[in-house]
Amino acid sequence: MSFDEIIDKYKDAIFRMVYVHIGDFHRSEDITQEIFIRIYRSLSKFRGDSSIYTWIYRISINTIRTYAKKDRTIADTLSVDHMEDIPDDAWDEEKLVEGLQNSSVISLIQRLPDKYKEVLVLYYYQDLKVEDICSVLNEPSGTIKSKLHRGRNMLKEMLLKEGVSNG
């Protein structure tokens, strides 16, 4: 695969991932450019230990982390401290789905702390399996599953508070 093909295949996926983290369109474009340059410069170091897409997402996440703190236009508004560990079957699914339809999911995810945002975007948007996310973030599957569970619950909490009332 030539590098132009890599750009064509991953440009929007990477840009969208950056946008969810940063929130500013033009800054996200600059960071996407930086990601592709980093990918290009590290291409000779790729040894095929992992699949190319997990390697590309790993570089993307690391670059996003470098810029996220200083460039982000949205502040994390939620903390896990106040979260109760609600079991999955205790949520009212109808209300949650109604909330999803009435809300902007991007803005809700943007308000999550980075560690949950990363996992949710990789899982729900990039469609990666838990094992692939482990490889991208270099974390054990237990940690990823826990982040996924907590991030999802935080999202559900926001949906019930805001999504339903907006509708």
Binding site: I7, K11, V20, R41, L100, Q101, I106, Y124, R152, L155
Partner: protein, 101 residues
């Protein structure tokens, strides 16, 4: 995946569908890469060492200046050098005349 997961995935994908990288940004990326492709010593050595070299310019200048200084000083002929040279040759000449005699 339960119903909520599926709905969340669909909604997120639908919202992100309209967010695309502009043509200008793609051109900028390709131009930058073209510039990056131009072969240079730094890139070659970085590839060879498998490590990105980051040496400040001032350190390079100081290093070159030091090397030049050491090079020049090693070729400077001091009084001591002349005396030892002469002594060595006088001994050789003396030995030669003694042999002739």
């Amino acid at each position: 995946m339960d119903r909520f997961d599926k709905e969340l995935k669909n909604k997120l994908n639908a919202e992100l569908k309209d967010i695309v990288l502009s043509e200008e940004a793609i051109v900028k990326i390709k131009e930058q890469l073209r510039r990056d492709k131009s072969f240079g010593f730094k890139d070659a050595s970085a590839n060879f060492l498998n490590y990105e070299i980051k040496i400040p310019c001032s350190a390079c200048i100081a290093g070159i200046a030091l090397a030049v200084l050491l090079g020049i000083s090693s070729f400077t002929v001091t009084d001591k050098d002349i005396v030892s040279f002469m002594n060595r040759n006088i001994i050789k000449i003396t030995d030669y005349w003694e042999e002739v005699r």
